[in-house]
């Protein structure tokens, strides 16, 4: 998994498929980074992702719980239609911002 930390903001570059198998590793690594760098904003970058199941929703919800305690936010960027559908259906869109990029 690729991560980038800029000040108090963590960007997680998600893999092609987000399922229970790689969600476990992602949670562990992200939590360590959040803890160490006093992260307040978490950005999930779905650029490479074409599959996500409810385990991915669990990852988002869990990170939201952590950063919301200190007034932080969770964002999603580059989410394709399928990923948006999964997020909308799960209701996770109520707690996170989805960044809509301009369509060219």
């Amino acid at each position: 998994m690729k991560y980038q930390v800029q000040e108090n903001c963590l960007t997680i570059y998600l893999p092609r498929e987000v399922d229970h198998h790689n969600a476990e590793e992602m949670k562990r690594e992200a939590d360590a980074v959040i803890d160490r760098n006093h992260i307040k904003y978490v950005i999930f970058d779905f650029e490479k992702t074409d599959f996500m199941d409810s385990s991915g929703i669990g990852v988002i919800m869990g990170r939201y719980k952590t950063v919301s305690l200190i007034g932080g936010e969770v964002w999603a960027v580059h989410a394709n239609e399928r990923i948006r559908k999964i997020m909308t259906l799960s209701g996770v869109t109520k707690i996170m911002q989805i960044y809509e990029e301009e369509r060219i």
Binding site: D19, F51, S54, I86, L89
Partner: protein, 151 residues
């Protein structure tokens, strides 16, 4: 005789196999000429059922999971079964947001996703014996209009 086809796979309940399981079912269903959307729906549902078997049915211990697929006309039936600990209260387990493991960041959306993406979901479970999830989906519903049109 109807157009039918069947396949069955058995694999270890390791999380590495989640990807294998959904791709195997997805490739079996290609003979129905599904849309990208329909394949994604089935992959998500299979992923949820297999994940449930691994973390709830077998509680992360390694045993066997069985997937049986059947195609009859344009209906795909997928059965995911384990012989794990079973579900005490199936109705409660199927409630959206219900989870026995909130501390592990489980969203509790597994069955809700299966129901959202498949036409029907039936769960048979007996505590101590195991669980079988049977899902059906009609593939290529709205396509007849133009596929039957000849020039």
């Amino acid at each position: 005789m109807k157009n039918t086809n069947e396949m069955e796979i058995r694999f270890d309940s390791r999380s590495e196999n989640e990807g294998f399981a959904r791709v195997a079912v997805a490739s079996f269903m290609t003979q129905l000429n599904p849309t990208v959307e329909e394949v994604a729906d089935v992959k998500t549902a299979v992923s949820e059922a297999v994940t449930n078997a691994i973390i709830h049915g077998y509680e992360n211990k390694v045993h066997k999971i069985c997937i049986r697929c059947r195609i009859s006309e344009n209906v795909l039936t997928v059965e995911v079964s384990d012989s794990g600990k079973g579900i005490e209260d199936v109705q409660q387990a199927m409630q959206p947001m219900f989870t026995t493991m909130p501390e592990q960041d489980r969203s509790g959306m597994g069955f809700a996703f299966m129901e959202a993406f498949m036409d029907s979901v039936e769960v048979e479970s007996e505590p101590g014996k195991g669980t079988r999830v049977k899902m059906k989906k009609t593939v290529g519903k709205g396509r007849e209009l133009w596929t039957t049109q000849s020039l």
